[in-house]
Point group: C2
Chain length 470, copies 2
């Protein structure tokens, strides 16, 4: 009876609304500003609505924004500010570029080449993605941009192994490979100092405590846990979120045949390939040249339009999912960032610090990292959490006698390995979350699995980090 | 031979690029900053590319932004700022809402009702649009918002009279009715003080010169020229941009039959109708309540999503054109506003003022209004031009002995009646420009016709404005 009622979407919506109402009228703790508590209520209720499948992530975000603005908790200007954020437009343009890579045939060719060589099992393809991502890591100093390189390779990989986002074949290989991509990016970002935009900030903050985190040190310290995670994650997901197509001995032969049918590189593929490689190179040099990553992606898009690899008609027909993703992610980002600005995160951090009294350094260390990871459910940007809480947690850890090098490195790694926690936990997830192969619920569930696995692996490697990092 | 070459898009692109280059290397006039001249070059070349059909308006805008940023003429932050502008998001959300109105069946029902009553000729339907728009004018204090109300009525009107944006049937009725809508909004906005967001600003500036422009005065002064224009425009377009379906005596009968088949209002139509009416009421009260128009539209969108009138699937499938429109218009807007901020517009205005020496007041008056209208080719917002140049032109006019009331009113009317000059000349054009029924070239051509007609009509009414307005 209850179960049947639960199948009714309006029942789930009523429960969500009730939960939101209860949080709203809860006495405001810790001397927070009322606006901070109300915004927290709206934000967490939106997340709950998605978890309970009461609302799509788009509708939940939209409603949350409207309610927050009408309640006077969020100014209109702030509410809309996400739409002009550089990395938001990077996601948008990378999403459109990826369509061109597929459209040109280049994506398929790369996918067929990979399948021909590694495609006898879907697990293998998962490892393929992880290896590609890890190798691209040092070259592309933004996990968001790197997701823009991976996605147009992974998408045809899914399509060409008979998995479509439109129907239940999505579970054949697609859902698994998309989830592996999200997992992979958490680790590739932790592996290299230059693989994620916030890593150098962490290194700078660590430096203030005398921890030298340069390119080589970082790689050395992170290598053991990161390589372990790279080895483990595809397999763990393979067991807990299995693709329905496992052994696919016929796939390499089919791919070889398809490659033969494709013939030589078409002129569109050549232009697309040159554009894509150019974008990757420019992304690598973006910091040096001082060019925005989004502008580079827009440039790539413009070239594709000029050469009709991706046409305006294609944009009109296929741009809807990019728009959907752009809107909900921009809203989620703004909500979280406003929550941060209202002091919610800092207050939470200080409260937690209060509980660390009387613990051994090892206890404090494990607890602090765990809490740092869990708080990420509230954040829609890794960099924002790093800026808001890295310093607080490092300070609390040091005061609790945690060796400073260990604390600094582990917080820095955590800032990367918690990135699979929710669809919006990292801008690098967004393309995969928007692919249609994964429901938000699947991302939350498997994101939790990935994060637990990462947490355990990096924690187990504590002796190594302690040894190399201090 | 040359004509054949011209058919090659790359030839037209080469000519555009050459023209751009020539402007770029022209010695910078009037002591302008180099950045101002370079940005002007990029902007005008983009417009030229669209006019010559060398680039789509989307590609032209994208390229212009990329070039302007890479050339260091436009900062990245400024370049992206358009995406979070309130009225930009109003257009985006209104675009999506209009899809829901059509999807729910409500748009068709309203269209069929109009066709049953007025549909025996396409010209009649044109007058229908003008009348609806004019009556909505005093209630909706933003022409952009009003375009969001008109568009979901006009679109099914086109579709249900057998005109599709996909093929050549677009000329049956659609292209004509979309163009009439653009024309109509120029005049409905001029008719009422409260029909366009910038009108009260004009009234305020006029007040500083002692011209009392309240609701009644404004209506009185504008009534004669505006009613004349309302009568003339649908007919002028009917002659110069004729729909291929002219007399359609069978249409009312077909509409009556279709209405019978639709039966009674469906629940989706009811929800959509209530939402739509609610939005119109809130738009009318937005200023009073201090709520952003875009938030109201987003709220309407959220309701539509909640009740599955417009689903996430619909958004993914049909959101591409909204995204396309959103991106190019945001870029165009930013380019024009940056040009303004760099002092280009003000310098241009002062140069023009210099040429007014020694003219009679009537000559100065006609010339000033003409130039004020032509300069709008450079502007992507009516309000921006008003803020940049209304004061300058009013001052120059008064110094040249033009009666101050005449000058103030006519500049205020011109700020509305020049709004059809280009696709981007007003945010109220954007939905119609994005409908697929009109090419940019058609909008430029017919926009010029509309603007000339408006100019002549309002100028001929100078005695009335002089009599009532001083």
């Amino acid at each position: 009876m209850l179960k049947k009622l639960w199948k009714n979407i309006w029942a789930r919506r009523a429960v969500t609304a009730l939960a939101g109402l209860l949080i709203w009228i809860t006495p405001i703790p810790w001397g927070l500003q009322p606006e901070a508590w109300q915004l927290f209520t709206i934000f967490i209720t939106a997340i709950l609505a998605v978890l309970l499948d009461a609302l799509s992530i788009f509708t939940a975000s939209l409603l949350a924004m409207v309610i927050a603005v009408l309640a006077g908790v969020l100014g209109t200007e702030k509410a809309f500010s996400g739409f002009s954020e550089d990395f938001m437009l990077l996601i948008l343009s990378a999403f459109l570029v990826s369509k061109g890579v597929v459209k040109s045939g280049l994506g398929n060719r790369i996918a067929f080449l990979l399948i021909r060589r590694f495609g006898h099992s879907t697990l293998n393809l998962g490892y393929c993605i992880v290896a590609t991502d890890a190798l691209l890591g040092p070259a592309i100093p933004s996990n968001t941009a790197r997701s823009g390189v991976l996605y147009p390779i992974v998408l045809p990989l899914c399509l060409d192994t008979g998995s479509s986002p439109e129907d239940e074949t999505r579970h054949r290989s697609g859902s698994y490979l998309m989830m592996v991509s999200i997992a992979s990016l958490t680790v590739s970002s932790a592996l290299w100092l230059t693989a994620m935009a916030a890593n150098p900030i962490a290194a700078g903050l660590g430096g203030q405590y005398g921890v030298e985190m340069d390119f080589v040190n970082w790689l050395l310290v992170s290598s053991v846990p990161s390589l372990l995670a790279m080895a483990a994650l595809p397999y763990i997901l393979y067991r807990l979120f299995p693709p329905t197509a496992k052994a696919t001995p016929e796939a390499p032969r089919a791919a070889a045949k398809a490659l033969k049918e494709m013939g030589r590189l078409s002129s569109k593929e050549k232009v697309m390939g040159a554009t894509f490689v150019g974008m990757v190179i420019l992304w690598g040099l973006a910091g040096l040249l001082g060019i925005s990553m989004a502008i580079i992606a827009f440039m790539g898009l413009a070239v594709m339009l000029l050469f009709n690899i991706f046409s305006i008609k294609d944009l009109r027909r296929e741009g809807g999912d990019a728009l959907e993703t752009f809107i909900w992610f921009a809203i989620m980002y703004v909500m979280s960032s406003a929550l941060n600005e209202l002091g919610f995160m800092a207050t939470l951090g200080k409260q937690i610090a209060g509980y660390m009294q009387g613990l051994s350094w090892l206890q404090a260390y494990v607890l602090l990292i765990l809490i740092y990871v869990l708080i990420h459910y509230l954040f829609v940007s890794q960099t924002a959490q790093l800026l808001a809480l890295f310093g607080v947690f490092l300070e609390v850890g040091v005061n609790a006698q945690v060796p400073v090098g260990l604390m600094a490195y582990m917080l820095a790694f955590a800032t990367n390995f918690f990135a699979a926690l929710s669809p919006q936990a990292s801008s690098a997830n967004i393309l995969f979350a928007g692919s249609g192969y994964l429901t938000p619920q699947e991302i939350y569930r498997n994101g939790a699995i990935i994060t637990i696995a990462n947490f355990v692996i990096y924690m187990v490697c504590t002796p190594w980090v302690l040894w190399m990092g201090n």
